[in-house]
């Protein structure tokens, strides 16, 4: 079953590009990779999702190499309001023992510095 690993924290200055990488070595063929953003005292919010190669939307880009064992969330020109915890999520499927697993990473706390 896919487990995900992310850096615990990252610091960045305003205006810089930030790249957060998530490792998911055991990703399954059918798994998609989804990233969420969470502010304090709020539920997570969807940012972007991809299956392979590159996906871009109005807030971020997601890079997934050919082997799909990792993914990188790229935030262009971060601002103070991007300070949050970022989670990567891989798949939801049966563990084969009567339960399901949905693997959220433990999150990366991004701090944007003025």
């Amino acid at each position: 079953l896919a487990k995900t690993t992310q850096p615990i924290s990252m610091d960045s200055y305003e205006g810089q590009e930030v790249n957060i990488t998530c490792s998911h070595n055991n990703i399954a063929t059918n798994d998609y990779i989804t990233w969420y953003q969470q502010f304090p005292s709020q539920g997570p919010r969807f940012i972007i999702q991809g299956y392979k190669t590159k996906v871009t939307n109005e807030v971020a880009s997601l890079f997934i190499p050919a082997d799909r064992k990792s993914s990188t969330l790229s935030l262009p020109r971060v601002s103070l309001s991007d300070t949050a915890v970022y989670y990567c999520l891989v798949g939801l499927r049966s563990s084969g023992a009567g339960s399901y697993q949905l693997t959220f990473g433990k999150g990366t706390k991004l701090s944007v510095i003025p």
Binding site: G43, Y87, G91, R93, S99, Y100, G105
Partner: protein
Amino acid sequence: DVKVTQSSRYLVKRTGEKVFLECVQDMDHENMFWYRQDPGLGLRLIYFSYDVKMKEKGDIPEGYSVSREKKERFSLILESASTNQTSMYLCASSLVALGQETQYFGPGTRLLVL
């Protein structure tokens, strides 16, 4: 906009009490989820439901049960609350096939068990 609401933002209960956490979504989503979030552990799936009266165990179902009598409502039940169930509880819903969906989260319920 999808709206997921949870019955309480903060809740204080005593050990041994039966606790009900309610979640309602207004977008006719098939899938609904309950997570708990603890510092350093990220989000962990407790139960999810893919249809009315259907439920599946997640990573940590012990000590919890769920009920889905109507499509829009998903309840998490702590039969006999214990102090180790003090946590932030997050509900989510989604429309598309499991593993490929965008999950929409509620604001969370912070439960304190004394």
